[in-house]
Symmetry: C2
Subunit: 154 residues, 2 copies
Amino acid sequence: MLKTNAHMIHNERTKFLRHLTQAGRRISKGREVIFDEVMRSHGHFTAEELVKECQQKKLKVSRPTVFRVLHDLLEAGVIRETAFGDKHRHFEHVYDEKPHHHAQCVRCHRFIEFPDRREDKVYHTYLKKQGFKILGHEMHFYGICRKCQDKGDL
Amino acid sequence: MLKTNAHMIHNERTKFLRHLTQAGRRISKGREVIFDEVMRSHGHFTAEELVKECQQKKLKVSRPTVFRVLHDLLEAGVIRETAFGDKHRHFEHVYDEKPHHHAQCVRCHRFIEFPDRREDKVYHTYLKKQGFKILGHEMHFYGICRKCQDKGDL
DNA sequence: ATACCTGCAAAGTGTTTGCAATTGT
DNA sequence: ACAATTGCAAACACTTTGCAGGTAT
């Protein structure tokens, strides 16, 4: 580990601020507060969860601001949207991130994350033939996690 | 091809009807109409798209019924929900289906489907170690499709 | 001083639900 | 006849937007 966590977060912050200033936007309290909150998160979160967390911590940011800053962070490449067949949109931050995929339990809806093994090269070949330029990918497994299996036929 | 399309659809219908009767539910007009419509579909569809199609064809099913029957079909295993980081839920039917994945263009939002090459065995091993029982999986690529590349920097 | 940002409340989507009328068994 | 299903309208949950007031540059 050459870079510490604090360094990485600092880098992400710089990336975010640069993105904003380059676009003629401003560095405001709301953006900083939400940036910090997002960086403090582990794994996925939904906009709603972030709103609730801010409310609990009595941070002075409204629901629309959370959505707006989430959009900014997405644009700046600080977070990405992960794909789940759910009503909500899920996000996770990108910093210090190793490519990984997700497995979701169909009963308790909890996630397992696991590393990418680059076993998808074969698909790259196929998609390239189609003229499709790959920007990213994600694998989504669904099934039943150990805990739910232990609980029996629920 | 030992089984024709008609056979497969018949099988799916039987599966659906059995699921219903076993659960003490009934076989109604709405369920039959929507079952037929779903089976007629190709690739993905959203609930909204299905509602619109029913309206255009003047089928006598309301919006809530479409959602309710979609839920029944999901339960019966006739359709499955596919995972996309979108506001809508996407469905597709399961019948006669070869395992496949999706690539979505971030510009035009169109999908490419491509066959599963079972290159994901390595993940199965990992997830089994975690005690996770896999029921299915899906790979989601995102990028820019040929048409949008041809259009230039849009 | 001039934009941009924020909160509020309201409007939009997509989906679900309560209830009275209807239909399947 | 009884219980499940349907349509309607209303409620819900999540997200976006218009606008007046506050804030960063």
